[in-house]
Amino acid sequence: MENILEVKDLNISFHTFGGEVKAIRGVDFELKKGETLAIVGESGSGKSVTTKSIMRLLPPGNSEIKNGQILFGGKDLAKLSDRQMQKIRGKDISMIFQDPMTSLNPTIKVGKQIMEPIIKHQDASRATAKKRALDLLHLVGIPQPEQRFEQYPHQFSGGMRQRVVIAIALACNPKILIADEPTTALDVTIQAQILELMKELQKKIDTSIIFITHDLGVVANVADRVAVMYGGKIVEVGTVDEIFYNPKHPYTWGLISSMPSLDSRDEELYAIPGTPPDLLNPPKGDAFAPRNAYAMQIDLEEQPPMFKVSDTHYAATWLLHPDAPKVEPPEAVKRRMKQFFSEQEGK
């Protein structure tokens, strides 16, 4: 499948009073047409910074793209001027934010907010824009669009507001939709509705989605491929099955086994010890090494490269080096692997 977006060796730093925070330290990934790529990781791992850099929404004062390319449609987004970027933002690439309470303007009617990108980007007349906005409200499942069009955000519930935000994001049929924790602020039943809506719309308008979340349940539900981030790097990337049933990086092992499965009750949950690394002074070797029970001497000295597991599956851990000792993943992960492979043989 063709790549619609390629990010190559991206390095981003923030300049603070304390010094230079190296938030993104060499991120590579590609987004294919029509797929959903989920980026997971804990707060501070750099998942939001990566996507904000694609939208060029990082604060201009203290952030800096030190190195790397963001290739989209033959252009390097990292090098575009603000003026050029404005033509892409909201049109070819658009974004859904976490909190629908703060991402809508409370003083402007919902309908006008949806019309705005249509008028700006598509040179449409007000009448066409209004028609399109009503269609969009209908598309995202808001009942009585004509009445709702004239209302303000505070008259909508949280789930309905998120639908409006989605309508705005989809107004110009974007090629890429970036969803930054779009359901975290919502209740589970509303979350399920929004996820279903996003999947359905993706099929209809054939857009690619980058989905940021820390909820592995949501990842399993929406993703085709998954990238796991830690300490400003992608440490493992693969299809959703590869990440959930055959993970290779100890951090992914930790993430997966720290979630209780429905039948793990009496055993203690596996908890990743310690706290995330300080990116003001990133460690010399593997950033995960201090929290990693499987760490070897080399982990403290040198950063592991991406080792290939399959054509779609890569992981940055020295454990995959041919000279590395064989280690046993935690019980919860082994159970998943076994269950998965026995199912595959059964097919």
Binding site: E42, S43, D187, V188, T189, I190, Q191, A192, L195, E196, H214, D215, L216, G217, V218, V219, A220, N221, A223, V240, D241, F244, Y245, G254, L255, I256, S258, M259, P260, S261, L262, S264, R265, E268, L269, Y270, A271, I272, P273, T275, F340, E343
Partner: protein
Amino acid sequence: MAQREKLLEIKNLKQYFNVGKPSMVKAVDDVSFDIYKGETLGLVGESGCGKSTTGRTIIRLYDATDGEVNFNGVNVHGKKSKSELKAFNRKMQMIFQDPSASLNQRMKVSDIIAEGIDIHGLAKTRQERMEMVYNLLETVGLNREHANRYPHEFSGGQRQRIGIARALAVQPEFIIADEPISALDVSIQAQVVNLLKKLQKEKELTYLFIAHDLSMVKYISDRIGVMYFGKLVELTTSDELYANPLHPYTQSLLSAIPLPDPESERTRKRKVYNLNIHNYAEGEEVKMREVKPGHFVYCSEKELKQYQAVLPK
């Protein structure tokens, strides 16, 4: 299991806000349940269903509109002298959702933790007080050097540990944990949940665990209550709730939670809850009924028969 001692008995608890105004809200509407000594009772439901209000009313942060909360046989909401209230407050403590909002930014960790110790006069000398603080810090997995720092110097998970240490300081019997892990990262959630479980074993604590993350609730709870619009609609052991959810709302809630398992996600069928499904006739009595021992469902007499029919024997 059957002859366990009741620690807390909640009878027909009601908590209405804006009583007498058109905007009256029945946040908790006639809820009854028991909590046994040493168990963890999980309370789940969507935001606005009244689960936090239930917790807050139990600990008397709100004055109940009606109903009783009996703690060790004594009504919490009954009239109490100052000293009785003080003694009661020591037995029941709370851990809050947002660890950065629930700790005073201007107090040192040692003073935050020792506030309860001071109020209840649990330490005789300064030295004893600090010893207690150090012990508590170590119990929750921090170290004694942390005592002289301020909350902003800690990460979210560490702050939640401080909140837990503060709750433990007065040696309570019962702890209400209101979404204690929702604000934390996945890898840190497991640390805090393990800590809560460990403390429960060591100190024989009883928990009321309020959350919306059902997989964590199932993991930590012995029994789970499901709330919907101020009512408790189902209450049973956590295994039973997952194996045989009976109330249509429970079924819909369970079907909405994504599991970290792509295989089961592909085949997920979501159920939508519709109030009309019950089709209650006028005058039909709808209340909590015991479908089988220990499994309570909010239903009518007719539904009770239907539920009993579908339950595996």
